[in-house]
Amino acid sequence: MIMEAIGLIKSYGEGSATVKALDNVTLQIEDGEFVAIMGPSGSGKSTLLHLMGGLDSITSGQVKVNGRDITTLKEAELARFRRKEIGFIFQSYNLVSVLTAEENVALPLLMDGCKESVMRENVGKAINLVGLDGRSHHRPSQLSGGEQQRVAIARAIVNNPSIILADEPTGNLDSVNAEEIMDLLSNLRNKSGQAIVMVTHDPKMAAYADRIIFLKDGRIIDEERLGGKIDQKKLVSKLKGSTN
């Protein structure tokens, strides 16, 4: 198990204006597992992802990564933990506009005071993995949405984190680009064994996952493990049949 959330509660506001965005959420993510989180708008999906990644304070409960409780970490420790263990990918890419693709990818390493030679090697590898070799000196404004998201993915994996947290990573992309990003994510997982937790509204994207967790009103209402429950042969013959 790479990550565990225990009895997570998150409230915003005070007194009568309190909103309970998360209400006692407990879940486990296994090593190398790909989990999708689905649920209606406002159900707390982004909040959950932020708490799992130590991006926001927890009202009560615990988040453990590799057995370590991150809720007790001080600000500076938490920042170091995030850079080492977690790769974030957002719907809006969140790249630094004045830096080139390569420099954006190098950012987490720079902040950790990484050696120049190691940095070059790791950045080159990450850029290559996401298929952006020819584009490394472009600025975000010179790249398409799909390419910018590839840069964001390269940045998320450059530290070789144990878990990738993605919030609607394909939300701004057309179907073909979205599919390429999903193929990329699922290949990365297969190659380097990183766990992925992805929030999505889109069932086409959730279908890449091993397991789906359904949130509603800040609670987990259901979950489903994907694979093996459907007769693939029947499905294929049905599809092939309908072409003739």
């Binding site: 209606p40 193929d183 699922s186 069932p203 086409k204 959730a206 279908a207 890449y208 996952a209 789906i212 359904f214 209402i221 259901d222 489903e224 994907l226 694979g227 429950k229 459907i230 693939q232 499905l235 294929v236 049905k238 599809l239 092939k240 309908s242 072409t243």
Partner: protein, 217 residues
């Protein structure tokens, strides 16, 4: 859709005479589901044979054309619940059978939200398999096959969007009921139960009331 489950769902509300069932089914599901009396009675015979309903003779009232009253048995209720809580897997049946399931569940003792969620999970399993098939296909030589899978994926996605819409509409309806007691109205001389009282009925009623109040001033 299968007449069998339609009849069981109607009988789960209260016992009915055979001749009433046709009318009830059509009122519930719309005229697309119209079935003839022959189908109703042959289905009732089979249901009785399998112990899912029992019939009893009653005293003739109001010139009723038959005196047989049908009642669902506990085994019939079990069978019905099983139908509600299992996803529709035959691709061709989804449109008809699943629609019937959703509508009939509204007046049954199973939760329509559960019915929707169970189908949602089945559709996600199908999407997962389709995605796997697509990943395994070679775009250089199997393009028509990939395009065929794309189409199936988009159909599944449309179904899932429809599930989301059903759920959203149910939530809206619940909010409406929270706001006040519902009044029984007559439509085509038929009494509408609260669950059949749509948002449109309620708005229309409110409009009428407002119009009346306005004239009175």
């Amino acid at each position: 859709m299968s007449v069998k489950y339609g009849i069981l769902a109607i009988l789960s509300r209260r016992p009915f005479h055979g001749y009433e069932l046709r009318q009830e089914l059509e009122a519930e599901l719309g005229s697309n589901w119209s079935v003839n009396y022959g189908q109703i009675y042959s289905t009732l015979d089979r249901l009785e044979r399998d112990g899912l309903v029992i019939q009893s003779d009653t005293v003739a009232v109001n010139d009723a054309p038959d005196r047989k009253l049908y009642t669902i048995t506990p085994a019939g209720q079990d069978e019905l619940n099983k139908w509600f809580l299992n996803p529709v897997t035959k691709i061709d049946n989804l449109r008809d059978e699943f629609y019937a399931k959703v509508v009939l569940s509204l007046t049954s003792n199973v939760s329509t939200e559960d019915v929707l969620q169970i189908q949602r999970k089945a559709e996600l399993q199908k999407l997962h398999e389709l995605t796997r098939l697509k990943e395994e296909a070679d775009p250089a030589i199997e393009l028509p096959w990939i395009m065929q899978i794309d189409l199936a994926i988009l159909h599944t996605e449309a179904t899932m969007q429809w599930l989301n819409m059903c759920e959203a509409r149910l939530r809206k309806l619940k909010d409406i009921y929270k706001q006040g007691p519902s009044v029984k109205v007559k439509r085509d001389g038929r009494e509408i139960r609260p669950a059949g009282d749509t948002a449109a009925d309620i708005t229309k009623r409110e409009e009428k009331q407002t119009a009346r109040d306005f004239r009175r001033r």
